[in-house]
């Protein structure tokens, strides 16, 4: 037995990999990692440099006298706005949370019949939904703008909220995940007399938590970053992102520090959400396969 084990180890993956290969791998990862991390690091460093260090030649990659002055300045600017800052914050939270929840609930509900029911036209419908994977907001923003304006939704919360609720990606991921659930689970509930709604909410939904959380992240990030100033122009209805952009755009040079402080603050929510839920994302993407054709 022991001999067998040893032989297996000898044949094992690690032994077939050369030292040079490993060194090269680590070097490549470090270079790429530095490229990915540097802009994030630099944003942070610039936000805590005192103004005289910001305009210093040559620019430094580190900070000598770190300061929170840009953050203080930013908070002062924000509290002096015509619209109270809490209003922007409320708008942002309201739109991102409601938009995300509606998308997650509706996509999940639609994914269940597509994954587990049989009805004529199902394949055709799914093909159209796959086609929709390509019709993202950046591509269809113009006709969407026309539609939103004709529906008289311009300059309302709905202009932010509604367009992304019916995005294909969430439905696709949910459907792929639900398909992996064993049919016996659903059959057993049917025999017990549960109707389809009950099956979905009590059996399917609790079992697809990773997919739900993944779609939650994608949608939250999508809404958080996608909120634009074209659709909503009433100051009362604007979101934090637009307000911060307006502050730093009004005097880009003098406010370089507070602009960077604003960037740091804006980056925190998506990063935190992703790190908290990362594990579920990887699990979900396992099923995110598309067949040829």
């Amino acid at each position: 037995m022991i001999k067998m084990k040893k032989r297996k180890k000898k044949l094992g993956i690690d032994n077939r990999r050369s030292k040079i290969g490993n060194g090269l791998v680590i070097f490549l990862l470090l270079v790429l990692g530095a490229f990915m991390a540097f802009p994030l690091y630099y944003t942070f460093i610039q936000s805590i440099k005192p103004s005289e260090e910001l305009f210093q030649f040559p620019p430094r990659l580190y900070v000598l006298r770190p300061t929170g002055e840009h953050y203080t300045e930013l908070f002062q600017l924000m509290s002096n706005l015509w619209v109270p800052f809490s209003r922007y914050l409320f708008n942002t939270l309201f739109v991102s949370i409601l938009g995300t929840l509606l998308h997650v609930i509706f996509a999940g509900m639609a994914a269940y019949p597509l994954a587990k029911h049989n009805f004529p036209g199902k394949d055709a419908l799914f093909a159209v939904i796959l086609l929709g994977l390509m019709f993202v907001g950046q591509v269809t923003f113009l006709p969407s703008f026309i539609i939103i304006s004709k529906l008289k939704l311009l300059n309302t919360y709905w202009a932010y909220l509604l367009p992304s609720i019916g995005a294909s990606l969430g439905l696709f991921l949910m459907k792929q995940f639900i398909e992996q659930l064993p049919d016996s689970l659903i059959e057993a509930a049917r025999i017990d007399g549960a109707n389809e709604w009950k099956i979905y909410f009590q059996i399917v939904f609790p079992n697809v938590k990773p997919a739900t959380l993944t779609v939650f992240i994608f949608q939250f990030v999508n809404i958080w970053n996608g909120l634009s100033k074209e659709l909503v122009y009433d100051e009362q209805l604007k979101v934090v992102k637009v307000a911060l952009e307006q502050i730093s755009a009004s005097n880009a040079y003098a406010r370089m520090g507070s602009g960077m402080a604003g960037s740091v603050l804006l980056m925190i929510p998506p990063i935190v959400v992703f790190i908290l839920l990362q594990r579920h994302v990887v699990e979900t993407m396992t099923f995110a396969g598309l067949k040829e054709g």
């Binding site: 490549l28 990862l29 790429l32 490229f35 991390a37 802009p39 630099y42 944003t43 610039q46 030649f57 040559p58 620019p59 509900m109 639609a110 269940y112 019949p113 009805f119 419908l125 939904i129 086609l131 929709g132 994977l133 390509m134 019709f135 950046q138 591509v139 269809t140 113009l142 026309i146 539609i147 304006s149 367009p163 609720i165 019916g166 995005a167 439905l171 979905y200 994608f218 970053n225 074209e230 992102k241 370089m256 602009g259 980056m267 998506p270 990063i271 992703f274 790190i275 990362q278 994302v281 990887v282 979900t284 993407m285 396992t286 995110a288 396969g289 598309l290 067949k291 040829e292 054709g293």
Partner: protein, 306 residues
């Protein structure tokens, strides 16, 4: 016998009666999907044959917009060229990098793997707040990072306008776009690698797989082809939709239209000039291009490793 004689409206009614629950469950999503995902594309196709400014009713003009796009708009050709450059350089480059990195970190322990995953994914999700720092890195004065260093080491006498000089706009945008396009396909690959059936590797060793590259080509790639196609589709969407980065960093329009992409060209004609019919025609061209790229890429991946 009865069913065969039913009229069409009756048959439709019967169909929805029979599959009522399925359709009711899908209805809320489908309503939004049809109005805000499918209808915009349909509307684009319709309006692309008209002259429309959102104030007056659209006027039918036939294929005039399409003729104009290809024959009479020199900046559309620039936009098309730039969009193709993004797709041809960034698409494959970021796809291959994502794939290699996912492959390399697959054997790391969970914690370092999670850290690298976060590092590669975060630039995709931080959005405009993340790009703004590139304006400081490539700033046109001596306080910009790149100019500052090049000047300090005497490689440069005068600062370069990285984002305003026609010669440099595209290379800079390519770097920034590459930085932020690792996202979703990277996650997909990570998941794909973790899910390859481990017994296949042992079987492969028996069949004479010698090194890790053979293992990758003959075992890993074929068993995660579906994930690779999904990653490719996401990457295509990403590349063809480049526009916000260009408009934010290089301006709309950029100097001499050097950073123009199809999306910024649509912004230009839609948001600034109100020529919606013409802008919609460009949108249709973009969607058709994406669709054919997808067909090509899925065909290509289907043939790998065989």
């Amino acid at each position: 016998m009865q069913a065969k004689k039913m009229s069409i409206p009756n048959r439709i009614a019967d169909y929805f009666k029979r599959y009522r629950t399925s359709w009711l469950m899908m209805a809320p999503f489908l309503i939004f999907f049809v109005i805000f995902t499918i209808f915009p594309v349909v509307l684009s196709i319709i309006l692309s044959f008209t002259d429309y400014d959102m104030v007056q009713a659209p006027i039918f003009v036939g294929v005039e917009n399409y003729l104009q796009v290809f024959l009479n708009d020199e900046y559309f050709i620039v936009a098309l060229k730039n969009t193709l450059i993004f797709s041809i350089i960034i698409g494959p480059a970021s796809y291959v990098i994502c794939f290699l990195v996912a492959w390399l970190i697959n054997e790391l322990k969970p914690l370092p793997r999670a850290l690298v995953t976060a590092l590669f994914y975060i630039p995709t999700i931080v959005g405009a707040a993340g790009w703004s720092v590139w304006r400081l890195i490539f700033s046109s004065d001596q306080y910009g990072l790149i100019n500052g260093f090049l000047m300090k080491f005497g490689l440069l006498n005068e600062p370069i306008g990285w984002l305003t000089d026609e010669a440099y706009i595209m290379p800079v945008l390519i770097i920034v776009q590459l930085w932020m396009s690792m996202g979703i396909s990277f996650l997909t690959f990570i998941a794909g690698f973790q899910n390859v059936d481990k017994t296949l590797y042992e079987a492969g060793m028996m069949d004479g797989v010698k090194n890790r590259f053979q293992e990758l080509w003959y075992i890993t790639i074929p068993s995660m082809a579906n994930q690779m196609i999904f990653g490719a589709v996401m990457q295509i969407v990403n590349c063809f939709a480049v526009g916000d980065v260009s408009a934010t960093l290089a301006g709309l329009p950029s100097t001499g239209y050097a950073g123009e992409t199809i999306v910024t060209h649509i912004m230009d004609y839609g948001n600034l000039r109100y020529e919606f019919g013409y802008a919609c025609a460009m949108g249709v061209v973009l969607v058709v291009m994406m669709q054919y790229s997808k067909k090509f890429v899925t065909w290509l991946i289907g043939r790998m490793g065989h």
